[in-house]
């Protein structure tokens, strides 16, 4: 393998590494957000707001 091909190979693999690590970081951020949403949903024992229905006084 000559020097020029090796240099191109380094550039290509470097770019690939940068992209994959960057994508993994972005996915990691998304996972963190989703987990926060999940915990929030876990915490809410009651039904969703807006669907609560009250009909006046107790019989």
């Amino acid at each position: 393998m000559n020097l020029k091909v090796a240099r191109l190979f380094v550039l290509f693999t470097g770019f690939l590494a940068l992209c994959s690590v960057g994508a993994a970081a972005l996915l990691g951020l998304r996972l963190r957000t989703d987990r926060a949403v999940w915990h929030e949903l876990q915490r809410s024992d009651t039904c969703a707001q807006g669907e609560v229905e009250r009909k006046g006084d107790a019989p």
Binding site: T13, G28, L41, A48, R54
Partner: protein
């Protein structure tokens, strides 16, 4: 100065090693990406399921501003007076305490998820289970001292007790952060699926347990250990640190309660039906006979029919100054004068202009005296009469 063939070979080797390192980094990144993607997909599925559950369960039909507390229709068996140690066959009920909500930690407290759970909810006190409830505080030395004894007892009996007997610690009279408090004591405490903390103003749990002078379940000091049977009645209690004798006694009563739990013959203690026994029985999940501590807040089940929406009231006759639209609604007329529309202006009253809306005068006959509707002003029309008209509209 240019490098020779050796220098070029060396540089090529450096490039190849760098490229290999990059390749390894890229593969690691791709692997990480795949792992995160799969984990995230699971979380997203859980979120979707939870949202679907919430939507399905959601239509509460509580008919009172507060959660309904209906007088029980079935009489509960009589209760025993609490005393140190064995309480008797009927036990003492803690129905009011079951309605209280506490901060709750589920699972390992190293990843604390603090949520709010009702003491009577099935996540905290599941049915067909015996519960050893322990009231403790971080400042209470005897509480810490007795924890290893509990842990040893649960470890020794883990094989035959299994999931039938659960330990439920409740942090009371203590402002410490529950996640920190439980992580500090976790290694000396028996495994507990749910850990509670009552940090509310006024210590509602202990206040409630000590308020009833006849059946006092809290005497001011910690630790307190209460043993709940299959009907969530306190069948054994200790109001100080357990010693070896009381631990043996506790273990004996737990075995006795387990035997009761396994007796499923008709009329046996753990199959009886009454409000407050921890089992959501027939009629207790209806608006008429709702039992909050057994069934939680009343919710419409997904298979129940939806409530019909209230029919919109369509007016039969429209009030003066408005007209009916094809969809049955009344719409305000923006042209102030019906006469103008038909080409026959109403005759003006003789007293028009005296400043008072006299009898027989209307805004059509004398808008000088009788005020126009909102958005309309009294102005001269093309025929010389004043009429209620839209501001800015030329008369005529």
């Amino acid at each position: 100065m240019t490098g020779g063939p050796d220098d070029e070979t060396r540089r090529t080797q450096v490039y190849i090693w760098t490229a290999l390192f990059n390749l390894f980094l890229a593969l690691a990144g791709i692997g990480l990406m795949l792992w995160i993607f799969i984990a995230d997909r699971g979380v997203r599925e859980d979120i979707a399921r939870r949202r679907a559950e919430q939507t399905a369960c959601a239509r509460r039909v509580i008919t009172a501003p507060q959660p309904m507390l209906v007088d029980p229709t079935e009489a509960a068996p009589p209760q025993d007076r609490p005393r140190e140690g064995y309480f008797g066959k009927q036990g003492t009920e803690i129905r009011a305490a079951l309605r209280l909500s506490f901060e709750a930690l589920r699972g390992k407290s190293s990843v604390p998820v603090l949520e709010k759970l009702r003491l009577g909810s099935p996540e905290v006190l599941p049915e067909k289970t015996i519960h050893v409830v322990n009231l403790w505080a971080t400042w209470c030395e005897p509480c810490r001292d007795e924890m290893p004894d509990f842990k040893a007892m649960f470890a020794r009996r883990a094989a035959d007790w299994g999931a039938q007997v659960r330990f439920l610690p409740i942090q009371v009279k203590d402002e410490s952060e529950p996640g920190k408090a439980y992580s500090d004591i976790e290694r000396i405490m028996p495994a507990a699926p749910v850990k509670l903390a009552d940090r509310a103003l006024g210590n509602p749990l202990t206040t409630l347990l000590e308020s009833d002078t006849d059946r006092t379940l809290f005497k001011g000091g910690l630790p307190v250990t209460l043993l709940l049977d299959c009907n969530r009645r306190v069948r054994w209690g200790a109001f100080k640190q357990l010693n070896s004798g009381s631990l043996v006694d506790l273990e004996r009563v737990v075995d006795q309660l387990r035997a009761e739990l396994e007796d499923t013959s008709p009329g046996s203690w753990c199959t009886q039906s009454w409000p407050g026994n921890g089992r959501c029985e027939d009629g207790e999940n209806t608006p008429a006979g709702h039992v909050l501590e057994d069934c939680g807040e009343l919710k419409r089940r997904p298979q129940d029919p939806a409530v019909a929406p209230v029919a919109e009231v369509v007016p039969v006759e429209c009030p003066e100054g408005s007209e009916a639209t094809p969809d049955g609604r009344c719409k305000r007329k923006l042209r102030g004068n019906l006469g103008a529309a038909t080409g026959t202006p109403p005759a003006q009253s003789a007293t028009c202009g005296n400043g008072a809306c006299d009898g027989g005068e209307t805004r059509e006959t004398c808008c000088d005296d009788c005020p126009c509707d909102a958005l309309l002003v009294c102005k001269a029309a093309g025929d010389g009469h004043k009429r209620c008209m839209v501001k800015g509209l030329r008369g005529g």
